[in-house]
C-alpha cells in the first residue's frame, strides 16, 4: 500500500533527468552526429540545403524527444487511442487534400515543414495496439471479436497508405501492428495459417500491384534486365557498397555518390553512401550502434512493470529493427526496392519526427518503469 502510494507520486524533474536511459540517449546522439556528417557528404562536402535542414530538424526533434519523455507513460497510455484516431484523420485528410509529388499523395503542408502522416502511423499503431492488449484479458486474446478489432486497427491505416500509394510504408505499418499481435499472444497457428494464405494469394496480390511496383519486383529478381532503367538504382548501390571494401574510400571520397551515380542518396540510399565511404568496418559499426539502441529499448521494455510499456518497447524495438532490415536489404539487393528510410540517418522530417517520438515514449517508459497502469 505504501509502496503503491510512493510510486503514484509525481517524480521530480531532477529524478526524471537522472532516470533517462543514457546509453540509449548517447547512442541516438552519436547516430545523429554521424547522420549530419553523412548528409554533409551527400552535399558534396559543403554545408548545403540537406545538411542544414537535417541538422535543424535534429535540433528541433531531439529536445522534442526529451519533452515526450518527461510525460508519464500513463499519459501516453491514456492518449494512445486518441493519437491513433488523430493520425487516421490526418491520413484521410492527405488522401483528399494532400500534396502530390512524384505520382503519390502522401504529404501535407504544416507551414514550417511538410508532414507525412503515414510515418506517424508507424508509432501510433504500436501505441494503439499496445494499449489494446494491455487492457485485453489474456483469455480473450484469441477470441473472434478481439482478432477482428486488432485486424481492423491494422488494416484501416494500411489501406489508406497503400492507396496513396506507398507500399513500403504500408508494409512497415502492417508489420509493426502484427508484431504486437504476436507479442500479445495471438495463437502461433493463426500466424502460420495466414502466412500460408498470404503465399497462396500472392499471385493474386501481385496482379493488384501498380506497374511500377511489379517492375521493382522483376528488377529485384534480375537487376541486369534493365541496367540503365529500373535496375539502375540497385546496381549502382551494390557497386558503391562493394567498392567500399574493408575500410571504405574515405570521408567525402565516395566517387559513386560524389559523381551522382547513386540515386536517392539523401534518403533511401544513405546507407550506401555511408558504406562506400566507411567500408565494411564502418557499416558493421553502424549496425552495432543500431543493435545497442534496439537492445536498450528491449531492456527498458523488460524492466517495465506495465504491459503497455512493455508491449510498446518490444514493438517499437522490432519496428526499428524492421526499418533497418528492410532498408539495408533493399540497398544490398536482398529485397525489392520499396521506399523505406533508415531511422535517423535518412533525410526526411516525418520519419525523424516519428522516430524521435518513439524514443521519447521509450524514455518515458524508462523513467516510469515502475509505473503500474491499471
Amino acid at each position: 500500500m505504501f509502496q503503491q502510494n510512493r510510486l503514484n507520486n509525481e517524480i521530480t524533474l531532477f529524478q526524471k533527468i537522472k532516470n533517462l536511459d543514457y546509453i540509449l540517449l548517447i547512442s541516438v546522439i552519436f547516430l545523429s552526429a554521424i547522420s549530419v556528417f553523412v548528409m554533409y557528404s551527400t552535399d558534396g562536402g559543403e554545408i548545403l540545403f540537406h545538411t542544414k535542414n537535417h541538422f535543424l530538424k535534429l535540433t528541433v526533434f531531439f529536445p522534442l524527444m526529451i519533452f515526450v519523455a518527461f510525460f508519464n507513460i500513463k499519459f501516453w497510455h491514456n492518449f494512445s487511442y486518441i493519437i491513433y484516431f488523430l493520425v487516421i484523420v490526418l491520413l484521410i485528410y492527405v488522401s483528399f487534400f494532400g500534396i502530390k509529388a512524384s505520382g503519390s499523395q502522401r504529404w501535407m503542408d504544416v507551414y514550417f515543414f511538410v508532414l507525412q502522416p503515414s510515418e506517424l502511423m508507424k508509432i501510433a499503431i504500436i501505441m494503439c495496439l499496445a494499449k489494446y492488449y494491455h487492457r485485453l484479458k489474456i483469455e480473450n486474446v484469441n477470441s473472434f471479436t478481439s482478432i477482428t478489432i486488432v485486424l481492423s486497427i491494422i488494416l484501416i491505416p494500411t489501406i489508406f497508405v497503400i492507396s496513396q500509394p506507398d507500399l513500403g510504408t504500408s508494409i512497415l505499418i502492417a508489420l509493426s501492428g502484427l508484431i504486437i499481435l504476436w507479442l500479445g499472444g495471438v495463437k502461433i497457428k493463426y500466424f502460420i495459417y495466414s502466412f500460408i494464405t498470404f503465399l497462396i494469394s500472392l499471385p493474386f496480390i501481385i496482379s493488384f500491384l501498380k506497374p511500377y511496383q511489379k517492375l521493382r519486383i522483376l528488377t529485384f529478381l534480375d537487376p541486369d534486365r534493365d541496367p540503365l532503367g529500373a535496375g539502375y538504382q540497385i546496381i549502382q548501390s551494390k557497386i558503391a557498397i562493394g567498392s567500399g571494401g574493408l575500410d571504405g574510400k574515405g570521408f567525402l571520397k565516395g566517387t559513386q555518390s560524389y559523381l551522382d551515380f547513386l540515386p536517392e542518396k539523401h534518403t533511401d540510399f544513405i546507407f550506401t553512401l555511408f558504406s562506400e565511404e566507411f567500408g565494411f568496418i564502418g557499416s558493421v559499426g553502424l549496425l552495432i550502434i543500431y543493435s545497442i539502441i534496439i537492445f536498450r529499448i528491449i531492456r527498458i521494455g523488460s524492466i517495465s512493470r506495465s504491459n503497455f510499456a512493455r508491449l510498446f518497447c518490444f514493438g517499437y524495438a522490432f519496428a526499428i529493427f524492421i526499418y533497418i532490415v528492410v532498408n539495408l536489404s533493399m540497398v544490398l539487393g536482398l529485397l525489392p526496392i520499396v521506399g523505406s528510410p533508415l531511422p535517423i540517418m535518412s533525410y526526411g522530417g516525418s520519419s525523424m519526427l516519428a522516430t524521435m517520438i518513439g524514443f521519447g515514449i521509450v524514455l518515458s517508459a524508462k523513467i516510469n518503469h515502475k509505473q503500474i497502469i491499471a
Partner: protein, 640 residues
C-alpha cells in the same frame, strides 16, 4: 488476485515471444553482415572495377596519319595544321545571338546554320559542335579578334591530311574523308580508333595501307559524373603517328607526266626494268584530292563527275585498251620462240590480205612490199603480223603474252580498282562466248585488236621485261624492307636466276627459250625508233645517253567502214569519240637500258604523231634523274 495472475501470465507470454523474436533478429542481422562481407570483402575487386568503369571515361583524340613520301623523301601526303571553330553549347549565353554574329563573320549559309541548330539538339551540352572544319587564316584571326563577344566559341588548331602536289598523285594515293558506317564496321582497327571527325582512306594507297597509316589515338582520361560530364582530367596518353610509307615514284617525273598529258585523257607509266619500281604512274586528267578532305561541294563534284575526259577513272590501272601495234614485239617474239619464223622470213605486203573472203587491211594502203621482221616492226606492217599470227595460232601467242604479264594484274594487291585485262585464246572464247575461234580473229589479235584488252601498266611491264632481256619482274610502288638493288637484279638476271624478295630465294624468271630471240625483238624496236622510215623516227634522240627504242600503236576505237577508209579523214575531222587511241611503249637508254614506259593518249590519233613525241620529252628527264635516284638507294625503309 485473478487479475494480477492474468497480468503475470500475460507478461510471461510477452517475454517468451519477445525472446523468439530476439533470436530471429540476431539471425537476420548476422545475415546482413554476411551480405556486407560478401559484397565488400569477397567481391570488392569486382565492384571496385565497376566503380572505376563508372567514373573514368576515356576520350580518344584523332590519330595522326603517317606520311607518304616519294622515293626521294618528299612528302606527297602529309598533315597540315588547320584552324577550326567549335562551339561548346553549355558555355554559350545567347545561342541565337552567337549564330547571327558567326554568320556575319564567316558568311555561313542558312543551311549550315540549320545544321548547327540540329547538332545542338542532338549533342550533349558539353560536347563541342564543329562549326567550321577549315578556317582560313584571316577568318581565324577575325574570330580571335571578336572572341570577347563570342562566348562559348573555341578556336581550335588541329591536324588534317594534306596533299601538297594536289592532283599529281591522286590516282596513286586516293584521298581521305569521313568514313561511313560500313567502313567502320568492316575494319577492326578503324573501329577501335574511330573518333568523330577522323578521316580514313577512301581510295588508292590511302585506303589500301589504312592499317599502317592510321596511327594511334592519343587518349585523355577524365573522371565523369553520372551524366557523362567531365569533372577533371586524370591523365593524358600520347598517341603515335602512323607509319611513314615510301613510294618508288619520282615526283619530278610524275609532275612532268601530268604536264605532258595536260588537257588530254590518257596515261603514262614509267618503270625500272630490273627492280620493277614504278617511277611514275599518271592518269590524266586528275583532280585535287584536297577537295574531298572537308566534304566536296556539290558544284565541284559535278564538275569532276561530268568531265567527259573521266578524271575519276584511274586509266593506268582500270583503263582497258586494245594495245594495237604495241603488241607486235610480243607477236614477233612468240613467232621466233616457236620457230615459226626466223630473221630471214619475209612476207609480201600489198596493203591488204584476203582470208576466207574477208579483207584485212594494212595501215599503209599501198603496201610495204617484201618485208622481213625488222622492217615489219620498223614500219609496223600489219600484213606481216597477220601472216605470222596466222602461222603461230592464237594459243601459242597467248602463252607468250601471258608470260609477259598481259591478262594478269600487275599490282593487284595494292589497288582494288586494277583490271586484269584479257588476252584471248580459243579456250577462252569457247568458255565465255560459247563459239569457236575464227582464224580471222587470230589475225587481228596479231595487230593488237579484237578481244585483246590491256591496261597501260601491263604494256609498260611487258616492255620492261623485253628490255631487261626477257626476265620476269615484280612491279611495285612501295619501297619494301628488302628491295632488290639494280646490281643484284641485273646480275641475277644475267645468270638466269632472279632473287625473289618475297620467298627470299632465287627463282628462275626466264621468260624466253633463246636469249637471241629477245635480242632480235629489241633490235627491231630500236630500228622502229632510230632508223629512217621507223614509225617513231621523228621522236628519236640521237645522243646515246638518252637513246631509246620503242614501238608505236594506234588502237581503233570502232571498226573503220569502207567509206571512211576511202575518205582518209584528218584527225580533226573525226568526232572525238571515234578517234583512235594513240599508244607508245619504249625503253631506254638503248645501251644498258634502265627504264621502260608506256604512253596512252585516248582518242589522240596515231601513236607516232601523238604518243611517241611525249616519250621523247620524258626520256631526257628520266635518264637525267637516274643519277639522283641511284644515290638515293640507301634511304630508310619500312616493312609493309
Amino acid at each position: 488476485m485473478i487479475k494480477s495472475n492474468s497480468g503475470i501470465r500475460k507478461t510471461d507470454v510477452i517475454n517468451r515471444r519477445m525472446f523468439i523474436i530476439g533470436a530471429a533478429k540476431i539471425i537476420v542481422f548476422a545475415g546482413i553482415v554476411a551480405r556486407l562481407f560478401s559484397l565488400q570483402i569477397n567481391e570488392n575487386k569486382k565492384y571496385l572495377t565497376l566503380s572505376d568503369k563508372n567514373r573514368i571515361r576515356e576520350w580518344k583524340l584523332p590519330p595522326t596519319r603517317g606520311n607518304i613520301v616519294d622515293y626521294f623523301g618528299n612528302v606527297i601526303a602529309g598533315n597540315l595544321k588547320v584552324y577550326q571553330l567549335h562551339i561548346i553549347p553549355e558555355q554559350v549565353e545567347n545561342f541565337n545571338y552567337l549564330l547571327v554574329r558567326l554568320k556575319n563573320l564567316l558568311n555561313l549559309s542558312e543551311k549550315k546554320i540549320a545544321k548547327i541548330i540540329k547538332l545542338k539538339a542532338e549533342l550533349k551540352p558539353w560536347d563541342s559542335i564543329i562549326v567550321s572544319e577549315n578556317l582560313s587564316w584571316s577568318q581565324f584571326v577575325k574570330i580571335n579578334n571578336y572572341l570577347y563577344d563570342l562566348v562559348g566559341v573555341k578556336p581550335v588548331m588541329t591536324i588534317s591530311r594534306n596533299y601538297p602536289f594536289k592532283d599529281v598523285y591522286t590516282h596513286i594515293l586516293g584521298y581521305v574523308s569521313q568514313p561511313n558506317e560500313q567502313e567502320i564496321l568492316d575494319n577492326q582497327i578503324i573501329q577501335e580508333r574511330f573518333v568523330p571527325g577522323m578521316k580514313i582512306g577512301k581510295l588508292g594507297l590511302e585506303k589500301r595501307l589504312e592499317n599502317h597509316l592510321i596511327g594511334k589515338n592519343a587518349i585523355q582520361r577524365y573522371e565523369v559524373n553520372a551524366y557523362g560530364k567531365r569533372i577533371n582530367q586524370l591523365e593524358h596518353q600520347k598517341g603515335e603517328q602512323g607509319s611513314q610509307i615510301r613510294l618508288t615514284v619520282d615526283t619530278e617525273i610524275q609532275k612532268t607526266c601530268g604536264e605532258l598529258l595536260n588537257e588530254k585523257a590518257g596515261s603514262i607509266s614509267v618503270m625500272d626494268i630490273y627492280t620493277g619500281d614504278i617511277i611514275a604512274m599518271y592518269s590524266s586528267p586528275s583532280y585535287d584530292p584536297n577537295l574531298f578532305l572537308f566534304g566536296i561541294s556539290q558544284d565541284e563534284w559535278q564538275l569532276i563527275r561530268n568531265n567527259p575526259l573521266k578524271p575519276l577513272i584511274n586509266k593506268t590501272l582500270s583503263g582497258l585498251y586494245s594495245p594495237g601495234s604495241t603488241i607486235k614485239p610480243i607477236v614477233a617474239l612468240s613467232a621466233l620462240e616457236n620457230n615459226v619464223i626466223d630473221t630471214k622470213f619475209k612476207v609480201k605486203c600489198t596493203g591488204k590480205m584476203e582470208l576466207y573472203g574477208q579483207t584485212f587491211h594494212c595501215w599503209k594502203e599501198k603496201g610495204h612490199g617484201w618485208v622481213s621482221l625488222k622492217n615489219a616492226m620498223k614500219q609496223s606492217c600489219d600484213t606481216y603480223f597477220y601472216e605470222i599470227a596466222r602461222l603461230l595460232g592464237v594459243d601459242r601467242l597467248n602463252v607468250t603474252a601471258e608470260k609477259f604479264g598481259l591478262g594478269k594484274k600487275v599490282l593487284g594487291e595494292y589497288f582494288e580498282n586494277e583490271k586484269k585485262g584479257l588476252f584471248p585464246n580459243t579456250k577462252w572464247k569457247k568458255n565465255n562466248l560459247g563459239r569457236g575461234w575464227v582464224l580471222g580473229e587470230t589475225l587481228i589479235t596479231g595487230i593488237g585488236q579484237g578481244y585483246i584488252q590491256s591496261t597501260p601498266l601491263q604494256l609498260c611491264m611487258m616492255t620492261a621485261q623485253i628490255a631487261n632481256g626477257g626476265y620476269a619482274i615484280k612491279p611495285k610502288i612501295i619501297v619494301d624492307s628488302n628491295p632488290l638493288s639494280y646490281d643484284d637484279a641485273k646480275q641475277s638476271m644475267e645468270s638466269g636466276l632472279l632473287f625473289d624478295s618475297n620467298s627470299e630465294s632465287l627463282l628462275d624468271k626466264k621468260l624466253f627459250k633463246d636469249k637471241n630471240n629477245i635480242k632480235i625483238v629489241q633490235e627491231a624496236m630500236f630500228s622502229s625508233t632510230n632508223e629512217r622510215f621507223g614509225t617513231s623516227y621523228k621522236s628519236r634522240i640521237d645522243d646515246p645517253k638518252y637513246q631509246f627504242a620503242g614501238k608505236t600503236g594506234t588502237a581503233q576505237v570502232k571498226r573503220i567502214s569502207k567509206r571512211e577508209r576511202e575518205l582518209d579523214l584528218e584527225l580533226e575531222q573525226i568526232p572525238y569519240k571515234d578517234r583512235d587511241h594513240a599508244l607508245y611503249v619504249a625503253y631506254g637508254p638503248y645501251i644498258n637500258p634502265r627504264y621502260a614506259l608506256s604512253i596512252i593518249v585516248e582518242h589522240g590519233g596515231s601513236g607516232s604523231k601523238t604518243a611517241a613525241p611525249i616519250a621523247k620529252k620524258l626520256f631526257k628527264l628520266i635518264i637525267d634523274r637516274h643519277e639522283l635516284r641511284n644515290k638515293q638507294s640507301n634511304f630508310e625503309r619500312i616493312t609493309i
